[in-house]
Amino acid sequence: MIESARYEALMSRRSEIMKQSVGIDYSQYETGVIAFDYEKLFVDTGYDVNTAREIQSNTAVGNTPLIELKNITALARVAASPGKGARVFIKDEAANPSGSFKDRRASLSVHEAKRKNFTGVVAATSGNYGAAVASQAAKAGLRCIVVQEAFDSQGTAQPEIAEKTRACEAYGAEVIRLSVGPELFYVFLHVLEETGYFNASLYTPYSVLGIETLGYELALQMQKQSHVFPDVVIATHAGGGNVTGTSRGLRKAGAVDTQVIAASVDLSGLHMASDHDFNRKSFTTGHTGFSMPFTTWPDRVDVPRNAARALRYMDRFVTVTQGEVFYITQILAELEGLQRGPAGNTSLAAAFAIAQELDEEKIIVVQETEYTGAGKHPFAQLNLAKQMGVTVRRGDPNDNKPGQRIVIPEHPSQIKVTDVELDRVRRSYLHHAIESLGEGGHLSDIDIDFLAAETRSSKTYVQEVINGLR
């Protein structure tokens, strides 16, 4: 048990601990009261997309297959108007060593930790990223500690997280399992300070650079297979790294006209820090509980500045329901022979609906899959949902209500996306920016420029919104 004085003392050492454990002095990038030099943060790492690919190939990360889902495309065309129904491809990221695209994020962090002579790495994550860091650390001969939010006050573990615990332990990592709550950050800081290990945060430039290879690779693969860049790439969106890194990688490969769509599972109404809601979510990632707060204010993370800034990179932001993702997961297994997900299939559910908006010759790429297994499977998630009193039934996905009803579609034509209005997201971002300023804070021209880049808008737009807020 800790006394509050110790808690506060540790929290006050936060920025020093962060600086030591990431090896980046973020203060040198500040250019305004809000603005910072985002691109320089990447340049100064010394890595680019080619060095990242080389490092990843040394641990068998990347070079995953790009598979055309012909039967799913045919099914989407049944539901589409004549002439509509784009070709759907999927990047089989489950083929990475620990079973997800998170190996790309972990590889550069672990490489950097080793280069800087750290003896171990620490990551705060309940998801695939923990297994990825543990796997990469094992290969690099570094010690690894993973801090998870894992169980509720009844001691009931989220099945998907329980599987992650097992996977991390299988790679020889120490796993600290906590009950629900944001004070996980305190434990995380304490571990960093005590061990002096590297903070393999999901939100450093290393982590985002590691994903750039995914966008880059899929653009080149598509170019080679079909002689064109994809028209649309859909990424499951949570903390923002997937959308940011993929989009940056696409641009670096020259695929500047490819539309990048962020897709999240709608978990609106459920509180992320609620002990009661914890086991009623049925998804541990790829959901709006992360994607909304992180898109509208990315710097709420375990490093001073988040290198994942999704609002800069998304052309469109959509949500799908839990039931639609479970439905498409079943279809992926039974029509394409691929048992994957479920959380990673969020973007596949969105692709199924969006394919029907596009002409037949257009190409959509779903940029990830993840491994599946005990706990990390629709059966496990839906059995827990039922145990928690959540109704699971077939019907119209419009009746889905997070935490209360999971409605599995009755027909593929019922899979739809709901567009998140980007203007609202931008306004919310700017609202947070103004809030962060506090009393008397003054925005310079550099800050306004930065906010325009952050929200992919203009200085005029930023000024207008801010004037309206004040």
Partner: protein, 104 residues
């Protein structure tokens, strides 16, 4: 007499990090009412009985103290029973494709 668990046995310890009522201010009410708990696994340093306060050495080599809660803890996550709401989907979509001549 309670049987002692031998040194170097793989065990789990349990500790309370923050008691109920002393949680961070931004935490919702239901979470305020429960403690922040921690569970960690490692190798037992000295022989001890379940419920004793013990020290373990974790796979990362750290020494942690807590109440000995489990010996060689099982992984209990599983698939469970198949979900009837999912079990006919394959059949349904194959029938749709067959109707359109997309599948034999």
């Amino acid at each position: 007499m309670t049987e002692l668990i031998e040194t170097d046995t793989w065990v789990e310890i349990h500790t309370i990090i923050l008691p109920a009522g002393e949680r961070a201010s931004q935490v919702p009410k239901d979470t305020q009412k429960v403690p922040l708990e921690m569970r960690a696994k490692g190798f037992l340093v000295e022989p001890a009985a379940l419920g004793d306060e013990v020290e373990i050495v974790t796979p990362a080599g750290r020494r942690l103290r807590g109440i000995l809660s489990e010996v060689n803890p099982a992984y209990t996550h599983q698939f469970g029973v198949p979900t009837p709401e999912l079990s006919t989907i394959g059949r349904e979509v194959r029938a749709i494709l067959r109707q359109r001549g997309q599948l034999k």
